[in-house]
């Protein structure tokens, strides 16, 4: 059976374009044929931009210069502002919002003439782990349509897994790239805080949010990271640290690489089958010449509670601007300005968003600040210290990405605490600002399992190196979902 263009990776498409075997228009047409075929079931996209995508592809074909990722389709989580294209952030309050500006990350891809296919579904304001908090509809896991794709970047993960796009951008505040990548069996990279500009990315928790990449394999991820990384004068928290060519680290050589696995990440709550798959992966690394040792990150258990103070606190301020005055949803029946504020927000925001705004407002309130927010900042420092200590002796930390595989739609929607536990293994990495990556490392009852690789600050290169070596020696990344029900 001939391979369809929509099935190919970015680098495979690049090669074929460079050899002029195919055109960008053919790729984009193939992608949309696929989308029209499966989107009813998967529901990855909030907005499709078929017309402009085809037009862009034709223009690129006419110019005939297939450098970089010119002519290659992409999807963007609907949190990235896109000029002239509706950007909802998964929220009713922004259901009519069309930005007049582009995010830096998506702009850098635009400059390279990537072709935007559409905007991807997400939990409202990136708050959630299942994409069920989208104000519009739930997205389905391509490996099992009754299950969630994870979240908050669930649409990005499902679209890549279902071959609706070759790659997509997402954001990760507490696991929102790695957890859905793990659930959907794709590669997800959350770089170091400050590596990719947050300009034009709608903020959830500014000190934790980071832009990253979903892809079908490690090479694609590295080459997209090459494009979006680096200092941006418009984001004062973006780092002026040089970006190496990540693809040059894809040599498969992990001899002597020092890999740590923290015992706290293999304790109760993590499915036995997942622990086993990670242990198996560690054995593979040893086989390849890496040194593997157990370590301790003693403050791990405090990461989640501290995260649920810091992130909601920042969110309570970040989301205060959605007041119906200048853009977005406004209750036009309101009698005065105060009720216009409160009614627009009451009607525009969903329950989880309201819950976190209230949590954050409470944590910052006079008399509680020291006990909650300030304490959480101190815990954050301790967590970062734990990692620093381990990284004095090791190059990479390996753990499961999630405690379980994808759960069923509706299964956890009644209980916020249960759903927060999904992020227990990913949150500490955001709290420490480190790069983290999830790559496929096996299946549990037909559902993908992800392995998390954690690196030193601004050392994404070593993560790519380690991930690539594993990928080269396994075939999990080549597996495709049947898009049915397990």
């Amino acid at each position: 059976m001939a391979v369809e263009l929509y099935e190919l990776t970015v680098h495979e498409l690049q090669e074929r374009l460079a050899r002029r075997e195919i055109s960008s228009e053919e790729i984009v047409k193939s992608i949309f044929a696929r989308i029209h075929n499966v989107e009813d079931k998967v529901k990855s996209f909030i907005t499709l931009t078929e017309e402009s995508a085809l037009q862009n592809a034709r223009e690129i074909d006419q110019a005939g210069k297939y450098t970089g990722i010119a002519g290659i389709p992409m999807g963007l989580k609907d949190i990235f502002c896109t000029r002239g294209v509706k950007t909802t952030c998964g929220s009713g309050i922004l259901s009519n919002f069309v930005p007049a500006y582009d995010s830096t990350a998506s702009h850098r891809l635009d400059e390279q003439q990537a072709v935007l296919v559409g905007k991807l579904n997400m939990d409202e304001f990136a708050m959630g782990s299942s994409t069920e908090n989208s104000a519009f509809f739930a997205t389905h896991n391509p490996w099992d349509m009754e299950r969630v794709p994870g979240g908050s970047s669930g649409g990005s993960a499902s679209a890549v897994a279902a071959d609706e796009v070759p790659f997509a951008l997402g954001t990760d505040t507490g696991g929102s790239i790695r957890q859905p990548a793990s659930y959907c069996g794709v590669v997800g990279m959350k770089p170091t805080y400050g590596r990719v500009s947050r300009w034009g990315v709608i903020a959830f928790a500014s000190s934790l949010d980071q832009v990253g990449v979903f892809s079908k394999d490690v090479r694609d991820n590295a080459l997209i990271m090459n494009i979006i990384s680096g200092h941006d004068p418009l984001d004062s928290t973006s780092a002026a640290i040089e970006v190496p060519d990540y693809t040059s680290y894809l040599d498969g050589d992990v001899k002597g690489l020092r890999i740590a696995y923290p015992k706290e990440y293999f304790q109760q709550g993590v499915d036995a089958s997942i622990k086993e798959l990670i242990k198996k992966a560690l054995l593979k690394y040893e086989e390849l010449g890496a040194v593997v040792e157990e370590v301790s990150l003693p403050h791990s258990e405090y990461a989640l509670p501290a995260y649920y103070l810091v992130a909601p606190a920042e969110a309570s301020a970040n989301l205060a601007r959605f007041d119906g005055v200048r853009y977005g949803y406004r209750d036009t029946e309101a009698e005065n300005v105060v009720s216009m504020f409160s009614e627009s927000r009451a009607q525009g925001f969903g329950d989880e968003v309201k819950r976190r705004i209230m949590l954050g407002t409470y944590a910052l309130s006079s008399g509680y600040y020291d006990a909650y927010y300030l304490k959480a900042l101190k815990v954050r420092r301790l967590i970062a210290n734990d990692f620093e200590k381990v990284f004095r002796d090791f190059d990479v930390i390996v753990s499961p990405t999630t405690p379980t595989t994808a759960f069923k739609l509706g299964e956890q929607s009644g209980d916020p605490l249960t759903i927060y536990m999904n992020d227990i293994l990913t949150v500490p990495i955001n709290m420490a600002g480190l790069p983290g990556m999830s790559i496929p490392c096996g299946f549990d009852q037909g559902l993908p399992v992800g392995m998390q690789l954690i690196g030193k600050a601004f050392d994404e290169a070593t993560l790519f190196k380690a991930a690539y070596a594993f990928e080269q020696n396994t075939a999990y990344h080549t597996m495709k979902p049947a898009l049915g029900v397990k």
Binding site: F97, G200, T237, A317, T361, L364
Partner: protein, 482 residues
């Protein structure tokens, strides 16, 4: 009654810093543009937008700190101050909470010859809010419009210690602060345009009581006069309340300029909980000592330095030097005159006398005055060379003030030529002596009035143009020779 109470005042002053562009985006800060023409997605608080600090703002904040003898800590940071209001597009203001750019300075004031040092607690950078436009009164307007031009204009909030003990001292502090900000070149300080604003914290306590009384904060003080009156009103109100056995409520009040009274707008219970927390979009700011030194090197001459110069180099009395250095406009006027006219004291006399009188009379600032330094110099030279009298000078000066014409033109138009030559004056004097033999007799008999009568007659005949000194001399000679 009021003499039994000590008044305690602290001021919070917001000065708009003089930058071309806003504090966190590149929009213009120019005053008076069409509504919402100086806005962008950043200052309008659009989703995904991030602040980038304008370093010029930090320069000006440091410069102010140095002018007010503050310490500039090596580390400062920004914080978010959360509150909902339609003029605040992000629903938080980026400000500085616990680590401000300037700490611990002072300002010396002078009230009725009494010098006093007023402590400055801190000064911090923040962004201004937008402006709401109501149709008539805020309580009855059918809708309000929002103008975000001012949103993101850089402000420095300067907080004083509660060191002032009278409305007069508060006014003196405010005037001195304004002058310092003008000298430092950090703000336009136009109170009417809102580029200098002031809130007054006022409390009273019985003399001898150690702890402060409950304070109120009064806003909307748009002039020195409003500041003084609002404090006087507030002091009287508080003392009367205490005397009536009432408790002072900690609250925010506003000055009603029309009714000349303060009224409550917010009690402590209704006060906002601003939920300050560190601004995650801006890294903490490290201010190197080199940075501070560079700003110090760029400092313009401050009034204290100028006073020393005026006294030591030009021999002005200290009082004159203090008055001349009250505003940069005044000092610059003086310095420009001095370039072409060497007599500093004469310049000072005219500035402190006629000029100051006319400005006060017309409720004007020196900056609005039509007289240019060169005009004054030309006029002084005309007096010195005798072409006009000092008295004519006053007429010329008034005309220059009213019309802005040069002294030469005014002298010519008004025919203000002083007659000093003997050839012209002697016949006039002789005519008047001859016509009044009786008065000559009186003069000879030692009646002083007689001399004055002759002077008056001569001046009348010459329409005041006779050179008084010359007339004096010639008249004496003539009378004595009779």
């Amino acid at each position: 009654m009021s003499k039994d109470y000590e008044i305690v005042i602290g001021l919070e002053v917001h000065a708009e810093l003089k930058t071309e562009t806003k504090i966190f985006c590149s929009c213009s800060t120019a005053f008076g543009a069409e509504p919402n023409t100086q806005t962008c997605p950043v200052c309008a608080g659009f989703p995904g937008m991030l602040p980038v600090l304008n370093e010029k703002v930090v320069d000006l904040a440091i410069r102010t700190g140095l002018a007010l003898h503050c310490e500039i800590p090596e580390l400062c940071k920004f914080d978010r101050k959360n509150y909902f209001y339609p003029d605040s597009p992000k629903a938080y203001q980026i400000s500085q909470f616990d680590l401000p750019v300037c700490v611990g300075g002072y300002l010396d004031i002078d009230v009725n010859g009494q010098k006093k040092r007023i402590g400055i607690t801190r000064a911090h950078m923040e962004e201004d809010a937008g402006k709401l436009v109501h149709q008539g009164d805020i309580t009855t307007t059918p809708f309000s419009l929002v103008d975000l031009n001012r949103c993101g204009v850089p402000l420095l909030e300067i907080v004083s210690e509660p060191d002032m003990r009278s409305a007069q001292e508060a006014r003196a502090y405010m005037e001195k602060l304004r002058s310092m900000l003008l000298f430092a070149g950090v703000s336009d300080c136009k109170m009417q345009e809102g580029s200098l604003r002031c809130d007054a914290n006022v409390s009273v306590r019985p003399f001898g009581q150690e702890e402060f009384g409950t304070r109120t904060e009064t806003k909307n003080l748009n002039s020195f006069r409003a500041l003084e009156r609002a404090i006087d009103y507030e002091v009287k109100r508080q003392i009367e309340a205490i005397e009536d056995g009432e408790k002072i409520i900690q609250e925010t009040r506003t000055w009603d300029e029309e009714k000349q009274l303060t009224r409550s707008i917010r009690s402590k219970e209704e006060a906002h909980d601003y939920r300050y927390f560190p601004e995650p979009d801006l890294p903490p700011l490290n201010i190197s000592r080199e940075w501070v030194q560079r700003v110090r090197d760029e400092m313009p001459e401050m009034p204290d330095q100028a006073q020393v110069r005026l006294v030591q180099k030009y021999g002005l009395p200290e009082y004159d030097a203090e008055i001349i250095t009250l505003t940069p406009e005044s000092l610059s006027f003086f310095d420009q005159c001095l370039k072409d006219y060497p007599d500093a004291k004469t310049i000072s006399n005219w500035m402190m006398g006629e000029l100051s009188r006319l400005l006060n009379q017309n409720n004007m600032e020196l900056g609005d005055c039509k007289i240019k330094p060169d005009d004054l110099v030309q006029m002084l030279k005309a007096i010195d060379d005798g072409s006009i009298s000092g008295k004519m000078g006053k007429t010329v000066f008034e005309e220059m003030f009213a019309t802005g014409k040069s002294p030469a033109v005014i002298i010519k138009e008004k025919g203000l030529v002083q007659i000093s030559d003997e050839g012209s004056l002697v016949p006039v004097i002789e005519d008047i002596i001859n016509a009044n033999p009786k008065v000559v007799e009186d003069y000879k008999n030692g009646k002083d009035k007689a001399f004055g009568f002759f002077i008056g007659q001569i001046m009348k005949t010459t329409k005041g143009q006779a050179n008084p000194a010359q007339v004096n001399k010639l008249l004496k000679e003539k009378l004595n020779s009779i």
